[in-house]
């Protein structure tokens, strides 16, 4: 018998009669819904998504789909169980009324909730010039529809594709272009591909992979303008080094923007960084006070991570979305003592230029790198990232079967550099600077200001940016 029959009764009633709304109908939203039913939640469940499609898998979009192996519509996520939900697809959430506990929809509907799961994720950053944005032949990649359009464009065998931005997605798309025998130019502002997540040492290796595959890789340049023909189709790109490039297809791969606009005015700790939450997936309000009924999962969630000095981090990886959603679901139907933390060990992968890249931890948290196993020259190696004498991340190129070893070291905050392997030790196994970009570059304008002087009146205020 519980010593708190009243509270237990509340939990039972909530599980039977509560109303849960999930905003976001992608991986985190779907897995969260399934987990809620697994947890014995039998109340009403509503899933809201701005896309008309049922939840689908995104990683294949930049790989198998663009290559033409799999139609864009064929990556639906497997359903792990029946969820008996009210699906509101194709209608975006436009607002959150916390006083009345309602999600406001684009069509004017209001959906009441007792508990809310925010899983609205990210979208791709649009081309910066609104006029040029209208050009035909200019694409971004995030959704299944995006992938279908780019696949069409690749299939028409353009004379040259320009990829702007050499992060993981941009690099994967360039790889697909080469597989399809398309001429492709990649323009990257920094010194090499993948520098943001993996640093300059790995970036140089990625650059060589691209060039060896026949990619016209141009680093240290920005694309300043796009020029169209009379039909409004993109034909040329103006680079910051003065080059004018003839192109028929441009894919802007400029990173992502978090879908937080609908939360404006809801007084949550939301902004360009996502929605801040605790390790139990509960959202913080604008003052940094934890909320009771609003939970966050997926790419949009930013929580303190025990392994990384408790810094708030958004872990934008597939398994973090799944595990975060499951933890959020669990905590939505449990009370304090039954709750559990979401403490993901970040894991990610990419496939490009015939190389399987797999990583663990947060490599960019480190400042040093050491090659630990294999051969860089043969593109089969493992490398560890360190900070302050401990391992914080690891990356493998065609060496993914070793990843578990590094994951374990990271979980235990093991010393950096790790002891030399018993065999297959790389030619250069001395730690060196990982060459990450300087973090002191300004990242954006603050959206929140502190107001009030009296302790009782002191609080944060949301200042929407002029749009």
């Amino acid at each position: 018998m519980s010593t708190h029959p009243l509270i237990d009764e509340l939990v039972r009633t909530f599980k039977a009669e509560g109303r849960i709304v999930i905003v976001g109908a992608s991986l985190a939203g779907l897995r969260g819904a399934e987990a809620l039913r697994d947890e014995g939640f039998t109340g009403s469940l509503t899933i809201i998504g701005d896309e008309v499609h049922e939840p689908y898998d995104r990683p294949p979009l930049s790989k198998q789909v663009l290559k033409g192996w799999v139609p864009a519509g064929n990556t639906k996520l497997p359903r792990l169980r029946a969820i008996d939900a009210d699906w509101r697809l194709g209608v975006a959430a436009t607002g959150l009324d916390r006083d009345n506990r309602e999600v406001l929809l684009a069509n004017g509907d209001k959906v009441p909730y007792d508990r809310l799961l925010i899983a609205t994720g990210v979208r791709s950053r649009a081309w910066f010039n609104p006029e040029e944005r209208k050009l035909k032949g200019l694409y971004t990649l995030r959704t299944s529809d995006d992938a279908a359009r780019i696949q069409e464009a690749f299939k028409a065998r353009p004379k040259r594709v320009l990829i702007v931005g050499a992060g993981f997605i941009g690099s994967e798309m360039a790889s697909v272009c080469r597989d399809l025998g398309l001429d492709v130019t990649v323009a990257e502002r920094s010194s090499a591909p993948l520098v943001g997540p993996l640093g300059g040492v790995i970036g140089d290796i990625a650059a060589k992979m691209q060039r060896d595959a026949g990619v016209d890789l141009r680093t240290g340049v920005a694309v300043e303008a796009l020029k169209g023909d009379a039909d409004g189709h993109v034909r040329q790109a103006q680079l910051s080094d003065g080059t004018l490039l003839d192109v028929d297809v441009v894919v802007a791969s400029l990173g992502s923007i978090r879908n937080v606009e609908w939360l404006e005015g809801a007084d949550l700790a939301s902004g360009f960084w996502g929605v801040a939450c605790d390790a139990g997936c509960r959202a913080f309000d604008i003052n940094g006070v934890v909320t009771d009924n609003i939970f966050v999962a997926g790419d949009i969630a930013r929580a303190p991570h025990v392994l990384y000095e408790y810094q708030f981090m958004a872990i934008e990886h597939v398994d973090a979305a799944v595990l975060g959603a499951q933890t959020a679901a669990h905590n939505m139907v449990h009370l304090e003592r039954g709750r559990r933390p979401h403490l993901p060990l970040p894991q990610f992968w990419s496939g490009q230029f015939g190389v399987n890249i797999k990583g663990v931890g947060v490599c960019s948290f480190g400042d040093e790198i050491v090659f630990t196993q294999g051969s860089v020259e043969d593109l089969r190696f493992a490398a560890a990232f360190g900070k302050n004498g401990r391992i914080v991340g690891a990356i493998t190129f065609n060496h993914g079967k070793w990843l578990e070893y590094y994951g374990r070291l990271i979980e235990r905050s093991a010393p950096f550099p790790p002891p030399p392997a018993g065999y297959d030790v790389p030619a250069n196994s001395e730690p060196m600077s990982a060459r990450f970009p300087d973090p002191r570059e300004p990242t954006g304008i603050p959206d929140v200001v502190l107001t009030g002087h009296d302790p009782t009146s002191r609080g944060a205020e949301f200042r929407p940016k002029a749009r």
Partner: protein, 428 residues
């Protein structure tokens, strides 16, 4: 002797071959424990996973203290036999980068992405071989009242051996010859106390002789492929001019050919036999599979958990001190990863002794883990699936004649020597 040493000796004794697991349970009280001078065994699931991925655990048999001991005192003649997969070490007893290169060279002609059709293309032949075996048994029945057959010799063995011969390009007509050699090789590799008996010594001597014959046979076969290339894995292995790693040297190819021939059928035989044995010990599971044949793949994985086809592989040693499961394994020690024991770790598998076809989250280590995980897994899965499905569909009312059945000598490649099953009828 310590308790662990005694448990290990008992587990390796022939008389306990049908059930080493109770001794593994005893060993697991210390998940990583010393069982002999410079020999450690790992019985805990988490501990095994940690070591299977640690680059300070070497599979290079020449680094193992076991291979350094003089022959007459060797507790572990198995290891020597493993080396004798040809004079060159094969990939299973090698470390990266050599292992990785050889594995790439093999996989190129055997599996995706370069050879995606080799395994699926065997499905029709496997089905036919299974049916032919049962047809042969059926034809041999005299009069009414059903009959009896040996699942090992009459069913589980003929199918995989024919399949691997076809894939590798080993003439099936030579099977009667190399069958005996492989049997001797396996019987000679006794890691237990029985090896010290006169019979054990005789088996060892015979095993050495047969291994030499096998090695010579493989060398000749490979030589033949060099002058007359064929459409088979072994021939392509030594004639590959297009791959990034080039052709394998004839010596390396002979070593790996021996490995692929033996590992390519022997564990499959044991798994098919253990599948039948386990199902017949749990008749309600047969009903379940008749109702839901789509559960057969899960049933096979559960059998592999309970009766891991390779119980451990005795070539590993540690290149540095490793702290694991509360024990420090000193650098240079041999370490046996006991898959069959880790698969019954109650900390990982609730009610580990229970045969539960629908066991959730059955991430057993029966295929190994890390860079040495089973090369032939996809082929074995296909073979065992078809063999088991066909057995369940065609053999009416099968019953065990002897339980436990007699086992083979070998501890590593552990399986029944014979498995007699009686039945009412074999349907068409």
């Amino acid at each position: 002797m310590t308790t662990a040493e005694t448990a290990w000796t008992e587990a390796m004794k022939y008389e306990n071959r049908h059930d080493p697991y109770r001794f593994f349970d005893e060993l697991r009280k210390t998940p990583v424990v010393q069982v002999a001078d410079r020999v450690y065994v790992v019985t805990g699931y988490r501990e095994l996973l940690q070591l299977a991925h640690d680059p300070h655990v070497s599979s290079d048999i020449s680094k193992s203290p076991i291979s350094a001991q003089p022959a007459h005192t060797k507790p572990d003649v198995g290891a020597e036999h493993m080396t004798a997969y040809g004079r060159e070490p094969s990939l299973i007893v090698s470390d990266p980068a050599k292992h990785d290169k050889q594995r790439r060279q093999v996989m190129r002609h055997f599996a995706p992405p370069h050879s995606p059709d080799v395994i699926p293309n065997m499905a029709a032949d496997i089905q036919k071989l299974c049916n032919d075996s049962l047809d042969g048994i059926k034809a041999g029945i005299k009069g009414p009242g059903g009959g009896t057959f040996d699942v090992v010799d009459d069913y589980a063995y003929p199918v995989p051996v024919a399949v691997i011969c076809q894939i590798l390009g080993v003439p099936l007509k030579d099977e009667p010859t190399f069958h005996g050699w492989i049997f001797d090789f396996m019987a000679g590799a006794d890691m237990g106390p029985d090896a010290k008996t006169d019979e054990g010594q005789a088996r060892l001597a015979k095993g050495k002789e047969s291994t030499a014959a096998l090695t010579a046979y493989m060398r000749d076969l490979i030589e033949g492929f060099l002058s007359e290339p064929q459409d088979s894995v072994l021939s392509k292995l030594v004639n590959d001019k297009d791959g990034p790693d080039g052709p394998m040297t004839p010596k390396e190819a002979a070593a790996n050919a021996l490995l692929l021939l033996i590992a390519g059928h022997d564990s499959t035989v044991n798994t098919i036999a253990h599948c039948v044995l386990t199902l017949l010990r749990n008749p309600e599971s047969i009903e379940l599979l008749h109702e839901k044949p789509e559960l057969i793949p899960k049933a096979i994985e559960e059998v592999l958990r309970l009766q891991s086809a390779v119980q451990f592989f005795p070539s590993r040693s540690v290149t540095a001190d490793i702290a694991v499961g509360g024990t420090v394994i000193p650098a240079g020690s041999a370490v046996h990863l006991l898959y069959g024991a880790a698969n019954r770790d109650p900390k990982r598998f609730p009610e580990p002794e229970k045969f539960d076809i629908q066991r959730p989250d059955n991430q057993h280590v029966g295929w190994g883990r890390g860079v040495h995980s089973c090369v032939g897994g996809p082929l074995a899965r296909l073979e065992v699936n078809i063999a088991l499905e066909t057995f369940l569909r065609r053999v009416e009312n099968p019953r065990l004649v002897v339980d436990p059945p007699p086992y083979r000598v070998n501890q590593v490649f552990r399986g029944p020597l014979h498995l007699d099953v009686s039945f009412d009828r074999i349907t068409d």
